[in-house]
Amino acid sequence: MKCRKAEKLISRLIDGRLDPGSSAGLEAHLEVCPSCARLLADYRQIQSLMAEIRTEAKPLPYFVERLEAKLSTGPRSSFWAMVERWYAAAVPVFLVIAMVFVGTLFLVQPSEKQLNQSEMLLFQTQSPLKETQAIFEEDKPENRQIKLLFAGLENREIIRSDKQ
């Protein structure tokens, strides 16, 4: 038996896990190998030292009571824990988005909109209703038709220019 294998078997031997066949082989090797015999003595000594440092200790006072107090507060579900984590991350993200939005409102000026005729009239404090009323008050139906036609053409032009 080689020392390398013997070393493995020695570890099993001190744990009482060596099968009888391997045990006989190891014993024969130990009789002729002082180095492995020394190893066995060292391993036994280490095991004994390890057992010596074992601390059979009791926890600090009121261990169960302290734990019961923690349990009675009701451990939150993982869902709420997740919401809480995301909430903490969401606040700064929301602030950044709000700042970008407000900044956009201040920086981006709306393009100058072309007023249509009705809006122009309203802007000039002339009611467009008066003009409409004037069309309908026209006595001659031909004149009324022509005025309506022109008003319609005017509106189309305004819509076309808006699209462009």
Partner: protein, 188 residues
């Protein structure tokens, strides 16, 4: 009431039943923690956290192993997480820094009282264990300090029996190497 029955009642949310389990295992869990972290306050905190984790995970316990083994599994995982998080905070004193005693020190140490020598020996072993890689430290603690069987260690550490065997062997070889000087002194 048998332990499995208590566990079943605790699984239904009965805190009194869970407290019975805590009372039965508090010393074992605390001892496991204190033997690894070597600090009573830290071990107490860890033990509390371990039982809280166990309480929350109790509905998922399927009785495929004994309750104690399952609890030890939670305890070892929690202690391992603690060791990883606090690795940097560890005392930087390494075994290599422990100077070989000089002639005067050797002479003085012979005159020391037996209990002082024992204290020194234990302190040295604890120091060496703390400096060992986490996987070796845990398996040595479970086997040689806690006295767990290979099968129990396999379940707790989720290792095959062959891996338990080889890891324990490597851990002992490293520990012997670290303790070589001390062992030769002890052996005369």
């Amino acid at each position: 009431m048998e332990e499995n029955q208590i566990v079943k009642v605790a699984q239904q949310g009965d805190k009194e039943a869970f407290s019975m389990l805590v009372k039965a295992y508090q010393n074992k869990v605390f001892s496991l923690a204190v033997n690894i972290v070597r600090n009573r306050e830290t071990a107490d905190d860890l033990a509390q956290e371990i039982f809280l984790k166990a309480y929350l995970s109790l509905p998922s316990f399927r009785f495929q192993s004994e309750f104690g083994t399952w609890l030890y599994q939670i305890a070892i995982n929690h202690i391992r997480d603690y060791l990883r998080k606090h690795k940097k905070e560890k005392d930087n004193l390494r075994l290599d820094d422990i100077a070989e005693p000089g002639a005067e020190e050797k002479e003085a140490s012979l005159k020391l009282a037996e209990n002082q020598e024992e204290k020194r020996r234990k302190a040295l072993l604890r120091q060496i264990l703390e400096e060992m890689p986490e996987k070796y430290r845990l398996i040595l603690s479970l086997r040689d300090i806690e006295g767990l069987t290979y099968e129990e260690m396999g379940k707790i550490l989720k290792l095959s029996p062959g891996t338990v065997d080889s890891r324990l062997h490597r851990a002992r070889r490293l520990l012997r190497k670290k303790l070589a000087l001390f062992l030769s002194q002890e052996g005369g």
